[in-house]
Amino acid sequence: MNHMIKPRPYLNPYLAGIGLGLVLLSAFVIMGRGLGASGAFTSVVAAGVNSVAPTHAQSNGLYREYLNTPSGNPLKEWLVYEIAGVLVGGFISGLLSGRIKRTVEKSPGFSTSGRMIYAFCGGLLLGFGSKVARGCTSGQALTGGALMSVGSWVFMIAVFVSAYAAAFLFRRQWT
């Protein structure tokens, strides 16, 4: 859609980091809480299961936690609105920088179908892992990291060590 515009180079990583840090700081100062991502998806899953099988959802402690929100509507949640903003903000940034492009991210020699299988299975593992750890790179690593939470730092170090250890298995996809 933006084939006329040449994609702009990415922002300097330290400037992007300061930008993200200030967004996170504003969440602390305005709301008294940090950022998140996996929690919003859990709200969506809980709302979905509840609409198909309400008895089943209400019998499960995890779904119940995400269904009983202050407003009564599981989707009327802070993180759900924040993630809606992420979708819009990412799109605006991509549009302004000419980076909106229908493509598949992989190394040229790797098959598209293989990439899609890895994307799905990787997403599955990561979604599962983020629930086990009570948060992801946003809620634990960034937010908990800045608040110096012990569990968040343990999570962050575990993510890096494990990803480096497993990188060899997926090298054909990325190199």
Partner: protein
């Protein structure tokens, strides 16, 4: 100056306004994730092959920025830190969750926030990754009743690094910032070395 932040905790606005703020903060979050290059799995995964250490640089710059900001705003009496929610620690589940998450990250190429940015900028693998994530959360929720006891084990409450290492918050902030700065110069060195070996071969 009167301490009156976090604003929401002082009842300065209602839930509807909080949700509008969530949307605005999300726009900023998504914007900088995309600007950093995190809509591209090739760039994110480069971290784990020493090709491109942007993930490390952006993450730790963000952590240090927010940490220093919060520390000084609290020191100046503007933010009441006791009203900022620190995530409780469950040591073993968080360690195990991190290990599973790390494999998923290098396999799938994104994390939950970055796959949103990838999807809206046209990456088809980002959409598939998003679907996989919903599936993973669903699987976890379904097995949750069987593992809920383990899930709540090794609880340490709202433990912070200052508490476990018995250091003052100021010293901890200083150490984390110094380690991050050392890490940044290390990252620049590694990237430079990678480029040199690549151009020689």
């Amino acid at each position: 100056m009167d301490m009156n932040a976090p604003f929401y905790q002082f009842g300065m606005f209602d839930l509807e306004t909080a949700l509008a703020i969530a949307f605005a903060i999300g726009i900023g979050f998504g914007f900088f994730l995309e600007q950093a290059g995190f809509g591209s799995a090739m760039k994110l995964a480069g971290q784990f092959y020493f090709r491109d250490l942007t993930v490390f640089k952006v993450m730790f710059t963000a952590i240090v920025t927010a940490m220093l900001g919060l520390f000084w705003l609290s020191r100046l009496g503007i933010v009441d830190l006791s009203l900022v929610r620190v995530l409780p620690t469950y040591l073993v589940p968080q360690l195990v969750g991190g290990i599973i998450f790390g494999v998923g990250f290098v396999m799938g190429g994104y994390c939950p926030g970055t796959c949103c940015v990838a999807a809206v900028t046209g990456r088809m693998d980002g959409w598939v990754h998003l679907l996989g994530m919903f599936a993973g959360i669903f699987v976890f929720a379904e097995v949750y009743p069987m593992i809920s006891e383990w899930y709540s084990s090794t609880a340490m409450g709202e433990a912070t690094l200052s508490q476990v290492f018995n250091l003052s918050p100021g010293t901890t902030v200083f150490i984390v910032t110094s380690v991050a700065l050392l890490g940044f110069s290390g990252a620049e060195f590694v990237e430079g070395k990678f480029k040199r070996t690549k151009s020689q071969s």
